[in-house]
């Protein structure tokens, strides 16, 4: 499963994407908990979860959405386009 990061989340983590083995991960929240074990940069990026948005296969989702079968999960701050 490809995991993407955007804006300040990408900057804090120091990379734009990770390849993650989804075995045992049911929801986007499970994925976050898994990532937070991968280093301090991930802990920092996921520190304030009210500022974290998630898209599963390019659809806006919530942290409790299932990631079963997902090919791409993205984490990013609230959007500021327009």
């Amino acid at each position: 499963m490809n995991v993407l990061y955007f804006a300040w989340m990408r900057e804090r983590i120091g990379r734009a994407s990770d390849e993650v083995n989804p075995t045992g991960l049911n929801t986007a929240r499970d994925l976050v908990e898994h990532l937070k074990t991968q280093g301090q940069e991930y802990e920092m990026a996921f520190e304030k979860m009210t500022s974290v948005r998630v898209a599963i296969d390019q659809e806006m989702s919530t942290l409790d959405s299932s990631i079963a079968g997902a090919q791409e999960v993205a984490f990013f701050p609230p959007v500021t386009g327009g």
Binding site: L4, F6, A7, A55, Q58, M60, A74, V79, G81
Partner: protein
């Protein structure tokens, strides 16, 4: 001739600038039942002293999908003959055009309301992020609660 075709609804995410007059001409050219064209342009605010430049990041693929979904939703709600979103990405300067929304309809209120709706949804649902480069360095622009409130007013 005269009928709206499905490609009257389109989006572009691009680094280059846009020309609202040319975009309007394309949108209305094939359909003389259109009596109303409403539009919105967002510009980079700030003087050269406060904002040296703005960097617009986006999520390629999802951006286009989300903009198309917003146009589809607008088309379901209002009698539109066409609509267009152009959103720029990359480096921009104060005064530069960021976003264009254009809607065409037989009905004046429909075009103006749909334009407001598209902007409200774009502001809260399309994956773009702005980073400002000012005299005190670079900062990511915060999302505004007023944009969430504006989007919420369209909920049933």
């Amino acid at each position: 001739m005269g009928g709206a075709t499905s490609n009257s609804f389109s989006v572009s995410v691009q680094t280059k600038d846009f020309d609202i007059a040319a975009e309007t001409k394309v949108l209305t050219a094939s359909n003389t039942q259109i009596g109303a064209v409403a539009s919105f342009i967002g510009l980079v605010r700030g003087s050269r002293e406060t904002v040296r430049s703005l960097e617009l990041e986006h999520y390629p693929g999802m951006t286009e999908r989300s903009l198309e979904a917003i146009l589809f939703e607008a088309k379901e709600r209002w009698p539109l003959d066409g609509a267009r979103i152009v959103h720029r990405v990359g480096a921009l300067a104060p005064g530069d055009q960021i976003v264009l929304v254009l809607t065409a309809s037989r009905n004046r209120e429909a075009s103006l309301e749909a334009t407001a709706f598209i902007m409200d949804y774009l502001k809260t649902r399309a994956p773009f992020w702005k980073k400002e480069d000012g005299p005190e360095g670079s900062t990511w622009v915060d999302a505004r609660e007023s944009d969430d409130a504006a989007a919420d007013r369209w909920d049933p």
